[in-house]
Amino acid sequence: MSNIFEYAPAPESRAVVDIKPSYGLFINGEFVDGHGTSFKTVNPATEEVLAEVAEANDADVDEAVKAARRAYTRVWSRMSGAERAKYLYRIARIIQERGRELAVLESIDNGKPIKESRDVDIPVVAAHFFYYAGWADKLEHSGYGSTPLGVAGQVIPWNFPLLMLAWKIAPALACGNTVVLKPAETTPLTALLFAEICQQADLPPGVVNIVTGAGDTGRAIVSHPDVDKVAFTGSTEVGKAIARAVAGTEKKVTLELGGKAANIVFDDAPLDQAIEGIVNGIFFNQGHVCCAGSRLLVQESVADEVMERLKRRMATLRVGDPLDKNTDVGAINSAEQLAKIRELSDIGEAEGAERWSTPCELPTNGYWFAPTVFTGVSQAHRIAREEIFGPVLSVLTFRTPSEAVEKANNTPFGLSAGVWTDKGSRILSMANRLRAGVVWANTFNKFDPTSPFGGYKESGYGREGGRHGLEAYLKGADS
């Protein structure tokens, strides 16, 4: 249906970013050549090659760990918390100052809408550094002691590239650790820009090392004998491999893995806000969110009404150019991920669920998937059990609060859950009974540096954010 009020394109300017033709590794405060096979990072919205990026091989990772160890021993662990804090505050400020540049670069490399990178990712990144900067000289009040672990090896995913970097690096540095971090192979650019920011902040060399590469580079970091701490965000499968790899060592591990969150809508919910919560829960960041509300559990008495409203709302989602300020849903991050989303969606259809996608025109180049909802889904369907990690919602119904809890908890995951009802005591009861690390009641997908995040069961262990997030980077009050 053509609309009399079509929004003209409102593209954010690309001129603020300067993408180099090739990038090296950031080791000991300098960019150096890698010795693996370099790879290309592409703009998923256009398939344009953005840059050639070095791959760190085992020797490069070893260099990075050595640099981190030297910096730890000679500089960072000896520095007072108050001085470490000032470096982190500096970094936070530079991130704010270069916020637009970081946002545009993130959208280009990742495919996420500029309004999300501009209004969510980058502001929260800066906030995260501010928050943990303040902890650096107050660790004795944290409840976890003030003794750092040493060198942290950190491997992060592609869905929130710079935000996941901040979640890893800010608390690690605040606690006095040094880091070797590997960004995802499809989204290395903001991490490499962050390396420049470390230089601008005059952060001592070796405190932050950024090594690019794929699975092999990650494995080299995780299994390096001089790494004291492993922090990983990504798939449950890789998380398990890491847990096995560190078994029998002294390494401390935190894992933030997959999810299949239930978003539970009761018949007395504030319906219009619940619809927004459902949309935000699964279509925010193209559904590339570990805590996405990918299973909608709706009470049968309002199921039809909710579906009607949801579809009407979904039809207003604007899918397309990530740099257009009016885009709500951007590009799928990679061809590989797109194939996975397509495969699971096809399976959903083959298993008998009813598929509906928004009637939007998708660009011809790049990786795209229209916002999609499956109805008539049962717990046995693969689309109700497996993480799709895309803009695909599976809808199930329930009759009673107990049935909702049973269905919500009937998964090996336990990262997040949503509850929508106007009845206060029911919210608290549901929050108690849901086995998930984050419960959003009458809201969804909210993040804050002060708020701990992390999963139950196969969604991983350890918490990131808040006072709890310090535990991962300190030896503990008892040692």
Binding site: F5, A8, A10, K115, D268, P270, L271, D422, T443
Partner: protein
């Protein structure tokens, strides 16, 4: 029901559909309190999200002209004079004397004693005269006085009546009284269109705004309107969002469209465009028409005109180039 319930049957909107609901105070209360609740934070976040839409070039030009056509150019002051109203009416017909392509506003909005003057100036221009009535802005008067106020304005030529609801009755839970009052005022309006002002700043909660919206729509109001402009806060994006949801849901249920008019505090083109985006995405493009959406405003018009000039000439304009009426 009081004997005046016969009038209910004559109002188009409520014919039959809502008889069971408005049968008694308790059934009406059950209905209004059974409407889905509104979460304040979620509602405000949604409104703020829509406000980040970036409207450029051709769509901006379209929006500015549409917004001008939706303005109820308003003067509601104790110091109003016939001269002031004549000037305002002239401006409503030709907002930008230098540019004949500039559209007229939807209406001028005045007190009842100024209706005849406004009507005289506007003639057959197509610009309507709207009159506030029913002891505007407080609504604190006896019923017969409110009805007389309304009839006066209509007899003087008002095309539209902007009534205020009895917020005291509403807040004390006497919903049926409020309903009856709207029904009676509507009857007094005759052919004039009725806008029902809630004074959302006094209703305080979004739940109340939603209930008032349904109450007014069931009673047959043609428009639901946020505010008198005399109480802060007046119109806000989230309050208008709730009302747009209400008219959308009302059409889903009854097939009938009701208009929405935010009034007070909308001063800039940027503001107006945010409202239009919200109309577009919440109620839908059918409401992008002066018949279904209005801005109650005075200073907004000049800003729209300045932005319009900027769009056509490519340079920024200044207040000296637009009339102050």
């Amino acid at each position: 029901m009081t004997p005046t319930s016969s009038s209910t049957a004559s109002t188009a909107s409520s014919a039959g559909v809502f008889d069971d609901i408005v049968r008694s105070e308790s059934s009406l209360r059950r209905f209004l309190h059974g409407l889905p609740g509104v979460d304040q934070v979620g509602c405000e976040a949604r409104a703020a999200g829509l406000a980040t839409r970036s409207i450029k070039t051709t769509s901006k030009a379209f929006a500015i002209d549409l917004a001008i056509r939706m303005v109820d150019l308003t003067t509601l002051e104790g110091q109003d004079t016939h001269g002031k109203v004549r000037a305002l009416a002239s401006k409503a017909m030709r907002p930008d004397p230098a540019d004949p392509s500039c559209p007229a506003t939807a209406a001028v909005c005045v007190y009842p004693d100024m209706v005849a003057t406004a009507k005289q100036t506007l003639g057959e221009s197509g610009v309507n005269v709207a009159a506030v009535a029913t002891a505007f802005p407080s609504g604190r008067a006896a019923m017969d006085i409110k009805l007389a106020d309304t009839r006066d304005a209509v007899e003087a030529g008002a095309d539209e009546i902007d009534m205020v609801i009895d917020r005291g009755a509403f807040l004390s839970g006497r919903y049926l009284d409020v309903y009856e009052e709207i029904v009676q005022v509507k009857e007094a309006c005759g052919d004039a269109h009725l806008k029902v002002i809630f004074e959302t700043g006094e209703l305080q909660t979004y739940d109340n705004v939603r209930r008032a919206s349904w109450l007014a729509m069931m009673a047959g109001g043609h428009f639901i309107k946020t505010s008198t402009g005399k109480v802060q806060p007046a119109a806000t994006l989230p309050v208008t969002l709730i009302m747009l949801e209400a008219v959308r849901d009302f059409r889903d249920q009854t097939g009938q469209m009701v208009g929405v008019k935010p009034a007070g505090g909308i001063k800039t083109t940027k503001d107006a465009i945010k409202y239009l985006v919200m109309v577009n995405e919440i109620a839908g493009p059918d409401w992008l028409d002066p018949d279904w959406f209005r801005f109650g405003a005075s200073t907004l018009l000049n800003d729209l005109l300045m932005q319009r000039t900027k769009m056509t000439t490519g340079r920024y304009s200044g207040p000296d180039y637009f009339t102050l009426d």
